[in-house]
C-alpha cells in the first residue's frame, strides 16, 4: 500500500470522526422528517370492544358507546367532537369535499391530546316521545349524556331492511391555532340505529 492510500483512509476516518463528535450540535440544528401525521377516530361498544354495538333500539332504554380519538400530528391537539343525529334523508358529512354535515350538533366533547396519545369518552343515549303511525316513525327527543334535545325526526319504513332507521354520527373537528377556530377534520364515525 502506498502512502497516498493511507492518506485517503486517514481523511475518511477523520471525516467520520468529525461527524460523530459534531452530532450533538448537529442534532440541535438538523430536524429529521417525522412519520405520517394523522388523527384517528373510532367508536366502540359498551365493553370498550368493537362488538355489542347498540343496533336495535327502543324508546326509554339507555345505550352506551365509547368514542375514541388518537393524535399522531406531531404536537398536542385540541379536538372537538360533535354528536349529530339524522334520519335516512338528511345529509352526512361529505368526505370528498371535506364539508361537515349541515345538521346542528346535539352534544359536543372538547378533547385535548398530546402527540401519540389517545383517549375515549363515553356517550350514552336514549330516545323519548317516540311514535309510530302507518309506515312512519317519529323521534321526539334524543337524550344524550343526560341532556334531552328536541329533534322531531321522522323515518319511513325501510322495507328492504325491515325497520325504521336513524343514524347517530360523530364528527371530528380540530382547532387550528393560526385561524383561531375549529374546522372539520374530515373524519366521522357513525352507527345505524333500527328503532323498534
Amino acid at each position: 500500500m502506498k502512502l497516498e492510500d493511507y492518506k485517503v483512509i486517514f481523511v475518511a476516518v477523520g471525516l467520520v470522526g468529525i461527524l460523530i463528535f459534531a452530532s450533538p450540535a448537529l442534532s440541535l440544528v438538523l430536524r429529521l422528517p417525522g412519520g405520517e401525521r394523522f388523527s384517528e377516530l373510532w367508536v366502540l361498544g359498551p365493553g370498550h370492544m368493537a362488538e355489542d354495538y347498540p343496533g336495535n333500539v327502543t324508546a326509554g332504554v339507555n345505550y352506551l358507546i365509547y368514542v375514541g380519538v388518537g393524535n399522531h400530528l406531531g404536537s398536542s391537539a385540541y379536538y372537538v367532537l360533535y354528536v349529530k343525529f339524522r334520519n335516512e334523508t338528511e345529509p352526512l358529512p361529505n368526505s370528498t369535499s371535506g364539508a361537515p354535515s349541515v345538521l346542528a350538533p346535539l352534544y359536543e366533547y372538547r378533547v385535548f391530546l398530546e402527540d401519540n396519545n389517545s383517549g375515549e369518552v363515553p356517550l350514552t343515549f336514549s330516545f323519548s316521545n317516540v311514535s309510530f303511525s302507518g309506515s312512519k316513525s317519529t323521534v321526539g327527543n334524543f337524550v344524550t349524556n343526560g341532556v334531552s334535545y328536541s329533534v322531531d325526526k321522522s323515518a319511513s319504513w325501510d322495507a328492504v331492511n325491515s325497520g325504521y332507521y336513524y343514524q347517530l354520527f360523530i364528527e371530528l373537528w380540530i382547532y387550528d391555532p393560526v385561524s383561531d377556530v375549529p374546522s372539520f377534520h374530515n373524519r366521522f364515525v357513525s352507527r345505524w340505529l333500527r328503532l323498534a
Binding site: 468529525i18 404536537s75 398536542s76 366533547y109 372538547r110
Partner: protein
C-alpha cells in the same frame, strides 16, 4: 260633561297601557341581560381555553413536558361544555358559574404554560451552548489527535522505507 269623562277614561287607559308596557320591559330586560351576560361569559371562557391551549403549544415547542397542562385543559373543556349546555337550556346562572370556573382553570393553565415555556427556553439555551461547546472541543481534539497520529505514521512509514535493503536475485546457472 260626558266628553270630559270620555277624555279622562281614554287618558287613564293610555296611562295604564304605558305602565303595563314599562312593567313588561322592566321584567324582560334583566332576563335578556342575564342571557346576554351568560352568552358573553361562555364566549370568554371559550376564548380563554383557546389562549391556554396556544400557550401550552408554545411551551411544548420550547421543549417543556405539558402532560399536566393537557389534563387540566381537558378539565376546562369539560366545564366549558357544561356551561354551553346550561346556556342552551336557558340556565343563565349555571352557565355564568361554569364559565367562570372554566376561565379560572384556563387562566391558571396559561400562566403555568408561560412559566414552563420560559424555563424551558432557558434550559434549551444552556443545552444548546453545552452541546455546541462539547462538539467544537471534541472535534478540535479529535482533529489534532488524528494529525499527530498521521505525522507519526508518516514518519514511521518513511523510516521503514529508508531502512529497506535492496535485494538482488542471482541466477546461479
Amino acid at each position: 260633561m260626558s266628553g270630559l269623562l270620555t277624555r279622562c277614561l281614554r287618558a287613564s287607559a293610555w296611562l295604564l297601557l304605558i305602565l303595563m308596557v314599562a312593567g313588561l320591559l322592566s321584567y324582560w330586560s334583566p332576563c335578556a341581560k342575564g342571557a346576554d351576560d351568560a352568552s358573553g361569559s361562555v364566549g370568554n371562557a371559550d376564548a380563554a381555553v383557546r389562549l391556554a391551549f396556544n400557550a401550552t403549544l408554545d411551551a411544548e415547542r420550547a421543549g417543556a413536558n405539558v402532560s399536566g397542562l393537557i389534563v387540566r385543559l381537558n378539565e376546562a373543556g369539560a366545564v366549558l361544555v357544561e356551561a354551553e349546555i346550561a346556556l342552551g337550556n336557558g340556565n343563565s346562572s349555571e352557565a355564568l358559574s361554569k364559565a367562570a370556573q372554566c376561565v379560572g382553570i384556563a387562566e391558571s393553565v396559561k400562566s403555568d404554560a408561560d412559566a414552563l415555556r420560559a424555563s424551558s427556553l432557558d434550559g434549551a439555551q444552556t443545552e444548546f451552548w453545552t452541546y455546541l461547546i462539547f462538539s467544537v472541543v471534541s472535534v478540535a481534539v479529535f482533529v489534532v489527535a488524528l494529525a499527530l497520529v498521521w505525522r507519526r505514521f508518516k514518519r514511521g512509514n518513511v523510516r521503514r522505507m529508508l531502512g529497506m535493503r535492496l535485494e538482488v536475485a542471482h541466477d546461479e546457472a
